[in-house]
């Protein structure tokens, strides 16, 4: 499968985040910062409720990347994400992206994003993708 510069990637929608999902992620990742788990702690930090781990959003972005660039054919050389807007339980993310350019080393530079149900970009980033030998 070949990709062209400017080509849009297939999008991937994930179910809305739940508080239980945050607890499961905290256990699996080891990130037990109470801002993700404890309502009172989150309010003291200035948020209306607990917030979703940025890294959980990045995991969804990563899954969308591999949805487009299957591991059987491609390797990911680099993955970068910026968390632009806080995500809350109940939010659901649509992940997408596009091919930005072909780098001198032949790798593809891919732009990535995650948007919430309001169409707001909650995270974006980029990845460098190469064909497997």
């Amino acid at each position: 499968m070949s990709f062209q510069v400017g080509q849009e990637l297939k999008t991937l929608m994930k179910p809305a985040f739940t508080r239980n999902a945050l607890k499961a992620y905290a256990e699996a990742s080891g990130d037990k910062n109470l801002i993700h788990l404890d309502e009172e702690f989150a309010r003291q930090a200035g948020f209306p409720s607990v917030i979703v781990h940025g890294m959980l959003s990045m995991a969804l972005i990563a899954d969308q990347l591999l949805y487009n660039f299957p591991e059987s054919e491609y390797e990911i050389a680099r993955l970068k994400s910026r968390f632009r807007k806080v995500t809350f339980p109940g939010d659901e993310l649509l992940c997408g992206g596009s091919v930005k350019k072909i780098l001198e080393n032949g790798n593809l530079l891919v732009g990535l994003w995650a948007k919430n149900q309001k169409g707001e970009t909650t995270a974006d980033g980029e990845a460098e993708v190469r064909l497997r030998n």
């Binding site: 699996a28 969804l60 990347l65 949805y67 993955l79 968390f83």
Partner: protein, 144 residues
């Protein structure tokens, strides 16, 4: 914010705490990978999920502890992984983390500090990946 700062310049000050924190993790197990894939709703990775290295962040948290960061103030804003050699089940990750950048800025409501942590993850002596983590620390009263 409980962090040392040095000479100020146009409202920004900078001081990079020195040193490296090194931690050896337990071997990567299939059970851990399955739990992580399940918790992240990962469907398209059949090896090590791309963000699984987030489980290697103990040195980062130790740095935050050493810097006496109030976790109420902490926001994770950026993450980058450079994958050099594939991780495998059974690998024993050794993580070496240092602070690669530290800036403090005055904003209208107070001060913000931006901390960048750089980690190298090696397994059995082979460098597997590099990680860059950026945190923003908000002074009390600065809106998220």
């Amino acid at each position: 914010m409980g962090m040392e700062t040095s000479a100020e310049n146009n409202g920004a000050s900078r001081s990079i705490p020195s040193g490296v924190i090194e931690v050896e993790e337990k071997p990567i197990s299939r059970q851990d990978l399955e739990a992580f894939a399940s918790a992240t709703l990962t469907q398209n990775s059949h090896s090590i999920p791309l963000t699984f290295p987030t489980t290697f962040r103990r040195p980062e948290f130790q740095w935050l502890d050493r810097l006496k960061v109030d976790m109420h103030q902490l926001l994770h804003t950026d993450q980058e992984y450079e994958y050099l050699t594939p991780l495998e089940v059974g690998d024993v990750p050794v993580i070496r983390t240092r602070i690669s950048d530290f800036k403090e800025r005055k904003v209208r409501q107070g001060r913000l500090a931006i901390v960048v942590l750089e980690s190298e993850v090696s397994c059995q002596g082979v460098l597997k990946l590099r990680c860059l983590t950026t945190f923003v620390l908000r002074e009390s009263g600065v809106a998220p």
